[in-house]
């Protein structure tokens, strides 16, 4: 099991772009893939250059997430993002500084608000009402 702590640890200890790349590839393998039926237009995040789907389910105020992408590194990034927010309440999530937490994981290059960046859109949906 890759729990949150070890995901954090794996990414935080990366010393170079190359190590981050390899860690994301490894993490990507732990993401359960979505079915074709789950990959609807509605679940698709706008603004990503790779296709990203995100499904939020809420029960008893607790949020559960499922996500997928056609790009492997993005699947690794999704594993990292979801590990931060899975099982939390919306209020808890809204109080988190997700950008800062991802930056601590050496993922800040995914956060620059360039024209093709969709990670910010993913974070937006995760914390949306």
């Amino acid at each position: 099991m890759t729990d949150t702590l070890s995901i954090k640890a794996q990414l935080q200890t990366c010393r170079s772009k190359e190590e981050t790349f390899k860690t994301l590839v490894t993490l990507s393998k732990t993401l359960p893939r979505l079915t074709a039926e789950e990959k609807t237009e509605d679940n698709k995040i706008k603004g990503c250059e790779s296709a990203v789907w995100l499904i939020i389910e809420e029960s008893h105020g607790i949020r559960h997430f499922k996500a997928d992408s056609d790009a492997k590194l993005m699947r690794g990034v999704l594993v990292a993002i979801l590990s931060l927010v899975e099982g939390k309440t919306l209020t808890d999530i809204q109080q988190m500084d997700l950008k800062a937490e991802l930056a601590e994981l050496n993922l800040s290059s995914y956060l620059t608000s360039s024209r093709t960046n969709g990670v910010l859109a993913i974070l937006g949906k995760i914390a949306s009402n």
Partner: protein, 405 residues
């Protein structure tokens, strides 16, 4: 003797750096090239010695700036063999040049007229025409060139007596293919259409002669030919420029203004509203001078040899789809089945290799090729054979790391 890129690489100080601890390997030249010292120095020199607004005259610096500014127009005119410097209009790039033409011809279009483009266009030479068609009721038609840019005799049926505008790229930015420009222009001219050539991907590599091409308009961007960003050129024949309705109005483009009416200035000023990008113009002229001082054929041959070397190495590997031609191009555009181009790009980047992954502003062409995007390595005169090989090596490593066992 073969061209040696080290003979001019030292003119590009930006290349002598490392990226994440690896030597920077810059192979994204089709997006924008790096700038040589003569261009950098010209920009410095402008601000250090003759910065002033142009055409407003009346003092020492302004005269100097105006002279250099108009000299630059002559430099660019002769760079593309335009018959007169008044045929060179400054724009902020190829995109603005195409929009200037699309908006400027709007008053001549009627419902049912046809605008013809090719299937290899950058969005910059597609969307302005599509929107023009929407506004006027004209019909946008697309000549279906293959990814090899082949001409089929039946294509002549796309040119009809309703074709009012024909706009085509000289070279595809996404896959490096040269289009059969001359024959297409001939057919367009026979129908009396206005013709526009998008030279954005050509000027850095090929000597351009707009008179031989015979097109009504020729457009390009400075930043893709070793010049600064924010400056580009709209060349036009006199009659073609004369009919363009200025889409921007304001200062500089007028002769006399009253509250009742405005008399527009003559060409080229009529199409250059507002204070121009003077530093850009000065830098672009320096880029033309830089290129003109080179043996253009030797540079082109070198750039093509880098691309064809990469092509043949990767072709031999197998398992890589290559969309660019085997020979006669300066870039390699590819994809690897079951691996996202963004993932390949991320690994190349981690090794200091700069390429471009994506749809290259050509969504319809990507659809034609049946891919979401490609990975493009594009070469310039300063690239070395070691860099071409490094791209191949790192790409193969990436494929290895990203393949599902």
């Amino acid at each position: 003797m073969a061209f040696d890129p080290s003979s001019l690489r030292h003119l590009f100080p930006i290349l002598a750096q490392t990226a994440y601890g690896h030597p920077l390997t810059y192979l994204d030249n089709a997006a924008t090239t790096q700038k040589p010292l003569p261009v950098l120095n010209a920009l410095q020199d402008y601000y250090r010695s003759f910065n002033a607004n142009v055409h407003r005259g009346a003092h020492f610096l302004s005269d100097r700036a105006t002279n250099r500014f108009e000299q630059a127009r002559e430099t660019v005119a002769s760079f593309i063999n335009a018959p007169e410097q008044s045929h060179v209009i400054w724009t902020k790039g190829a995109t603005e040049a195409i929009n200037t033409v699309a908006l400027g011809l709007e008053h001549l279009l009627e419902k049912g007229d046809e605008i013809l483009i090719t299937s290899l266009e950058h969005h910059a030479n597609l969307v302005p025409w599509q929107q023009l068609a929407f506004r006027t009721g004209a019909r946008l038609r697309v000549l279906p060139l293959t990814s090899n840019g082949e001409w089929e005799p039946e294509f002549r049926h796309y040119f009809t007596d309703r074709t009012r505008i024909f706009a085509a790229t000289q070279i595809s930015n996404a896959i490096g293919t040269s289009t059969p420009l001359q024959i297409m222009l001939d057919h367009a001219k026979q129908q009396g259409a206005f013709t526009l050539v998008d030279g954005a991907q050509a000027v850095a590599h090929y000597p351009i002669d707009v008179q031989t091409l015979g097109c009504d308009f020729y457009v390009f961007s400075g930043h893709k030919m070793y010049g600064p960003t924010g400056i580009g050129v709209l060349y036009g024949k006199s009659h073609a420029l004369e009919v363009l309705m200025p889409y921007q109005t304001g200062g500089e483009m007028v002769r006399h203004v009253s509250y009742q009416a405005t008399e527009f200035n003559v060409l080229p000023y009529r199409l250059e509203a507002g204070t121009p990008n003077i530093e850009g113009v000065i830098g672009l002229a320096a880029a033309c001078d830089f290129l003109s001082a080179q043996d253009r054929l030797a540079l082109l041959t070198w750039e093509q040899s880098l691309a064809s070397h990469v092509y043949s190495r990767l072709h031999k590997e197998g398992g890589i789809e290559i969309y660019s031609p085997e020979k006669g191009t300066t870039l390699v555009s590819l994809s690897v089945p079951n691996i996202h181009t963004l993932d390949l790009n991320a690994y190349l980047d981690s090794q200091g290799v700069a390429v471009r992954a994506g749809s290259h502003c050509a969504h319809p062409l990507m659809a034609q090729l049946g891919v979401a995007g490609t990975l493009r390595a594009s070469f310039a005169c300063y690239n070395t054979m070691e860099e071409a090989n490094r791209f191949c090596d790192v790409l193969l490593e990436a494929i290895d790391l990203l393949s599902d066992e």
